[in-house]
Amino acid sequence: MKRYLPFIIVVVVASVTLAIGTVLYRAKRPAVLTIPKSALVPGSGAADSMHIRGPASAPLTLEEFGDFQCPPCGKLSDPINQLEREYRPQLRVIFRHFPLPIHAHAREAALASEAAGLQGRFWEMHDLLYREQSVWSEAGDVGPLFNSYAGILGLNVDRFKKDMESEQVEEHVASDQKHGAALGVRNTPTVFLNDRALAPTSLNPTGLRAAIDAAMKTPPHT
């Protein structure tokens, strides 16, 4: 019996590892999130409060729930901008705030982008925040940095500071976050193409392009 015991132990460990791995994978595998038709952003006459890049009537909508301090979001920012330019006028990009509590300055960054948006420079601040992510993420106090970014973008800095503390921008960020939570968003970036969330493994330039190409071949939703 002793001679066979190591074989039994090894087989048992292999089986237990595979079983635990499978259970863990099923638990961690992201659910396929979808946006209900009632919550889809309309093709034209979209709400003014929405941050949309590209033509409002584009047949494809790429909707990102992002966090300015999240490194994968920063890595994805440029490729999304590039795709929006390449696929224009077929694609429009919507950005929604989903600052994660684990990121100390994500919320402030979201407020800064909204404050810039009140002066018509949301996307410029969006791009700048992602470009400079590694700088301000490490800062103790991000206020002076964000003010300097506002200056670089030619904003009225006094108004920007005031707007950052306004209820209006707070509400916008909270509203986006609530919307994301209602859709089942838990991590960032979460990217929806039309009404369906893309798998995390597709969140790279190649994966996004393939998803957009595939969506262009399928008939639009009615």
Partner: protein
């Protein structure tokens, strides 16, 4: 204490340590396969390391290879503890390969990515312990399979 008994203790400890490494590598593999390393749910340095190009070879996650290596080390250590002498050489070889790979991965984290992932550091610690055991284990004379 006889050399044989010491060896049994060494290999039993090695098998137990390998199990810890196996658990760690299995968890990392699941994270990779579920796409968790591609999204922002963990720390920035975790993403930098586990989401980097160094975390996979082709389409195979390095963590999965690590899990296989730990399972191999566990199996060899278990057989060695039960007196199978020939597998001791395989145990030493696999630990040697794991040690070399760990050194490379630590170099990648320190000098190429400038970020450390705590799961990877735990794995490195486990491999160093296994390497210590592989070096310290007394040479054998008795065999079960010879």
């Amino acid at each position: 204490m006889s050399g044989s008994r010491t060896r049994i203790i060494f290999y039993t400890v090695a098998a137990a340590i390998s199990l810890a490494g196996l658990a760690d590598a299995t968890y990392l593999t699941v994270m990779y396969l579920s796409g968790e390393t591609a999204v922002c749910g963990g720390s920035a340095s975790c993403f930098q390391v586990l989401g980097s190009a160094y975390s996979r070879i082709g389409r195979i996650p390095v963590a999965a290879l690590g899990a296989l290596a730990y399972f191999g080390a566990f199996s060899f250590a278990t057989f060695a503890a039960f007196g199978y002498t020939r597998v001791r050489m395989f145990f030493a070889l696999i630990v040697c390969a794991m040690f070399a790979t760990t050194l490379w991965l630590l170099y990648v984290q320190a000098f190429l990515l400038h970020a450390f992932c705590r799961y990877c550091l735990f794995s490195a610690a486990v491999t160093f312990l296994l390497a210590g055991i592989a070096v310290a284990v007394p040479p054998s004379h008795q065999t079960m399979d010879s």
